[in-house]
Symmetry: C2
Subunit: 436 residues, 2 copies
């Protein structure tokens, strides 16, 4: 089995005007669907970040992947990592860069996309689900959390393709409770994540309180302002939400930098508040982990097979986190059904995974799904690993063509949430850290 | 593919009267050959520690392995680790215990033996070498080192089965150089390890010097006294052998405990001597690694898939070591051709592996080999990963039966090098740490 062809499909996926400290989501999120075809007629698929940068990086790896036996992944990794070595080894935090745009982890992202497609091929060749190809499953129904966003009205898309969504405008606590009710009714999630860093911290504290009132202790709560707060504000929010974030909840990236996180942690502990801090900003690569542990800056690492380097890297990370006594959860970006299954298999294959994973999947719709047969079901908050080989999903090529057509007609080629804010909300809007 | 049967073959393998700080090797080393048979007629094999303890642990896992899909290894690991959780989490150093006899890592050893047999099955089922099943190879010809031992005359065996070997008695520097010449001529090794802790340190220093004179800088040298030295003596040896252990050599477990190693390192560095310290005593499990790094007690971790938890654990370890900026080499015990291939595949599958691995293989002979077709070739110091599926070796059942027969007639069921010293050398001999 030799890889004879790589096909890259850049797609645009309608996305609602979701808000975060980065700004506002554009009407379409960008993704790339990868296909690897083999000499014996198999097709392995994958999904990764979209737009020009990620696409160019995958193109740059074409010579490394075509002609390769998909089992030879270590060598592929070493080749891509060797290229990275030649670049600067600077700051790999994601403080200012959205995942998928950091030039310093381009090799891990590119490898991940190709590794998953190769593992999908192997799964299909041997008739086993992907998670079984890498060692078998720790769980067959990995859980995900309800990912709530403050948002403007509408459900993404532009012009004739403009959509509505079922959630409408959510810019206060009350509408957020409604959003949570709707999302939980539809998907059965049992943990709740609120994307914060959008409203005044007091309003976000109020939102968390109302969510707690509505759902009670059985639904652990997490809030993620993407570093929008100062150390002072982070400590204040941690103090105010001591009860609400207890019992399996966490405070995610309240403030920027490893040192800032460590200070928040110290000051909260000094007040007897043991709310763990989670991060996908201070900790984005293996080298960050010992530092995070030593400073006690991060207690829960937010993994993501898409940029940590794929499924086996996720397994390394799970082992690392266990050894360093760090919790593990999973970060998400807007994604389609292929990535849903990547995240599900990655979660299934890791013994140490302490929390339900994030997913943006509720923010995408059937209309843009590229998976044959439609969207991947989320039942009781979980995605089931079936007995289907590889990722367990195939591409719907008509849907894929529609996604590519949307991409072609779009005027932008990378995510820029700041530009969207300037366009729709405030022409002078800038991302300021800390804002509060 | 479901595992329908587990067969355990305890074997005895003639072994020369090799010396170390533990004492003297018995006339036979004990090993266990594992066979897993599947419903569709495949047989996966493995090799692990011998004698009653390891055998009982494998027996205890029978209910977990028979009926299992060999792809479901994560679940097997979790089941075995859960049992270990119930036991004490005490000292996992190997200061006083030989590898294979520490009750605290019985779950990692048992899992490793079963994992390898399952991976051999998978490799055979999919027609791929074992290292490719776990991600593909970083190298196809992993290198090994010449493992020199002070020894008495003879080549192991007892009574009518007593053997000679080509090395004869080696109890001084001169005969050790001869041993090295013979072993390198036969196998082509390009790195040299001397098992020390046997003679007065000055004699061992002299041995290393003569080896350096004979082989020059092209053959990096390492010496391993198995903790026989005090911190003071370790520093002295490090000082005296500053030149000889430079250029890819190392000082292995000169003294006991993480703190002792850290002190040796500090004092050598203070004298401008940067000879790295390697260990398979202070660092025997993942939890030791961050401590070793923090104390700078160990610069090179000696892995061993047999007790670190198998091939995938070896890959985790390789990643850990890379991230923590620790070198990686591999520890060995007396073994047959199946373990030779386990070590070769484990090495092949790890991007980060900084040194040629140890192997006792030159100390065993064709007469006891259980691998069909005879001993695994070592050419230019390397074991080649061929295209054969799984481990790439099959069992010779006649040879296996002979090994089992030898085991049955033996009066001992575990390794006890102290008892051998008392029997043959000095009735009052005790292992004393530090001896010098």
């Amino acid at each position: 089995m030799i890889i004879s062809e790589m096909r890259l499909h850049p797609v645009a996926v309608a996305d609602g005007p979701l808000r975060s400290s980065y700004g506002r989501h554009a009407p379409y999120a960008l993704r790339t669907i990868v296909e690897l075809k083999t000499t014996d007629g198999l097709t392995g698929i994958s999904e990764t970040y979209g737009g020009e940068g990620p696409l160019a990086a995958l193109e740059g790896a074409r010579g490394l992947i075509v002609g390769r036996d998909p089992f030879q992944l270590t060598d592929l990794w070493m080749s891509l990592a060797a290229r990275a070595e030649q670049e600067s080894r600077g700051d790999r935090s994601q403080t200012m860069l959205v995942p998928g745009e950091n030039p310093l982890d381009v090799h891990t992202r590119t490898f991940a996309a190709l590794e998953v497609a190769c593992l999908d091929l192997i799964g299909k060749a041997v008739g086993k689900p992907l998670c079984d190809v890498v060692g078998g499953r720790a769980r067959s129904k990995p859980p995900f959390s309800a990912y709530l966003f403050y948002k403007h009205g509408g459900g993404g898309g532009m012009g004739a393709d403009a959509r509505e969504d079922e959630y409408g405008e959510c810019l206060d606590a009350k509408s957020m409770v409604r959003q949570a009710r709707q999302m939980i009714a539809k998907y059965g999630f049992e943990e709740i994540k609120l994307k914060g860093g959008v409203l005044d911290p007091d309003e976000e504290i109020e939102t968390i309180r109302q969510l707690r009132d509505e759902f009670g202790e059985k639904y652990p709560l997490r809030i993620d302002p993407n570093c929008a707060w100062s150390v002072e504000t982070s400590v204040r929010v941690g103090r105010e939400l001591k009860e609400e974030l207890s019992g399996g909840g966490y405070l995610e990236d309240p403030t920027a930098t490893m040192e800032g996180m460590a200070e928040v942690r110290r000051r909260l502990l000094a007040e007897g508040i043991d709310t763990p801090l989670a991060s996908n900003v201070a900790t984005t690569c293996f080298e960050h982990l010992p530092v995070a542990r030593q400073l006690d800056a991060v207690q829960i690492v937010l993994s993501d097979p898409h940029y940590w380097g794929g499924i086996r890297a996720q397994q390394h990370l799970s082992k690392f986190a266990e050894v360093l006594r760090l919790g593990l959860s999973m970060h998400s970006n807007n994604h389609l059904g292929v990535s849903m299954m990547i995240m599900a298999h990655a979660s299934a294959a890791c013994p140490h995974l302490s929390y339900a994973c994030d997913t943006h999947y509720p923010w995408q719709t059937e209309q843009d799904e590229v998976v044959l047969g439609g969207r991947v079901p989320i039942v009781n908050g979980c995605v089931e690993i079936t007995d289907k080989p590889g990722l367990g999903v195939e591409l719907d090529y008509d849907q894929l063509a529609r996604g590519e057509e949307r991409y072609r007609t779009l005027p932008y080629r990378k995510r820029d949430d700041e530009a969207e804010m300037q366009k729709h909300v405030d022409p002078n809007w800038k991302r300021i850290l800390p804002r509060w």
